[in-house]
Symmetry: C2
Subunit: 237 residues, 2 copies
């Protein structure tokens, strides 16, 4: 595999962070293109003109002369190459299944602050955002995280198999993001999710990952990303 | 591959239809478990108890002793086995990329009628549904379908490569669903999407698929599925 060039918005963690975590945790050299001088223009140009197949949206990856998009697709490609997925096909299908469920969490977390249209400002859909967030915190958050808690209850230290796969890194990021966006809701919910919390702490201790998280390469959470801290949306479950 | 057992809600097309289309178009024998007597109970039991890894939601597939979920994951597994994907890895990455973009369309189409919570009735979020649908029809529909039109403009008769892949069948279903849910909006938009329309018509002529579409195995669209016809949501782009 030639050096991977990741294309993603330079000022947010967003979905691209799930790819960054896979590179960082494995000490894999990669170029975060849009964070280099002139890189954002390169990214936008590639989105307009494509190569063989234009991506619909970032993140997308360039390696071995191919450009391809969609976070779960990128991670399914990288998993075997970075040693971040078990060898057997059944396990890989399960890792991919969990990753797509995490993609669903990301989409729903985004829509808590943009329930009407991603093209409108938050302030123009604040009323609806309150309603959607309340339902997310009350119904969806316990359902999603309760699911991962049950999976871990059965599987042990990692979601699938005996070592961390890329979806373990992504679940770590889900907890990070939800704690940022919904601190009160998460504080109320976490006592019911001991496996998820222990799993988060286990992943956080991985040496390369810990160094990355403490570095300036880790973009802080902010109100342009998927997980946004709007106190009025952080209700009790 | 042992005979595939598909688990999906028995009364809607929904996401499961994308898997059904792959089986039907290739004349592959499969069991649509929840549509058999007692099958729905079997599906719900498997969701509660799992096997090695419980699915978060239908559809899920059982074959070769493994149960796994998520539509795009199921199709990525079936693609090579049913001859519904090109041989080379770059093409497979592109097919998977397009399939995940179609998954995004499905999620957004669902949220046009359920923008606040999937657990609430449509009538309890009708006001917000009107706003979300207007934005979907105005911004997202042209963006998504314009994207696929550009891809086809470059690729030819099929999205990737020289023959139909599973994502061609899924794009056909997107157009079917959108025409059902948003007939006025689609009538206004389709003249700008000649490639997408020609592609839909090309897929519809595939003999096995055409026989399936005319059969009683094809569940009609209805207001329990992803694509719902609520005339008040069918605005002009």
């Amino acid at each position: 595999m030639t050096t991977c060039r990741l294309y993603y918005w330079p000022s947010i963690q967003g979905r691209g962070e799930l790819v960054r975590l896979a590179f960082e945790d494995t000490g894999t050299r990669y170029v975060d293109v849009a964070r280099k001088p002139g890189g954002l223009d390169k990214m936008l140009k590639l989105m307009r003109e494509g190569k063989s197949l234009e991506p619909f949206a970032p993140p997308f990856l360039e390696t071995d002369g191919v450009v391809f998009a969609q976070t779960a697709n990128i991670l399914a490609f990288l998993g075997p190459r970075l040693g971040l997925v078990p060898e057997d096909e059944a396990s890989r299908l399960h890792v991919a299944q969990l990753q797509l469920t995490i993609a669903d969490i990301f989409a729903e977390a985004h829509d808590t602050h943009h329930p009407i249209a991603s093209g409108l400002y938050y302030d123009d859909q604040k009323r609806e955002a309150r309603k959607r967030s309340a339902a997310f915190v009350r119904d969806r958050l316990p359902k999603f995280l309760g699911y991962f808690n049950r999976v871990l209850d059965r599987s042990g230290d990692y979601l699938v198999g005996a070592a961390a796969s890329y979806t373990d890194l992504s679940l770590f990021q889900v907890v990070e993001g939800l704690r940022y966006a919904f601190p009160k809701a998460m504080a109320a919910l976490e006592p019911t999710l001991p496996r998820v919390v222990a799993h988060h702490d286990r992943i956080a201790l991985r040496p390369r990952l810990a160094r990355y998280l403490a570095s300036s390469r880790r973009i802080p959470f902010n109100e342009d990303g998927i997980f946004r801290r709007y106190p009025e949306l952080d209700t009790r479950p």
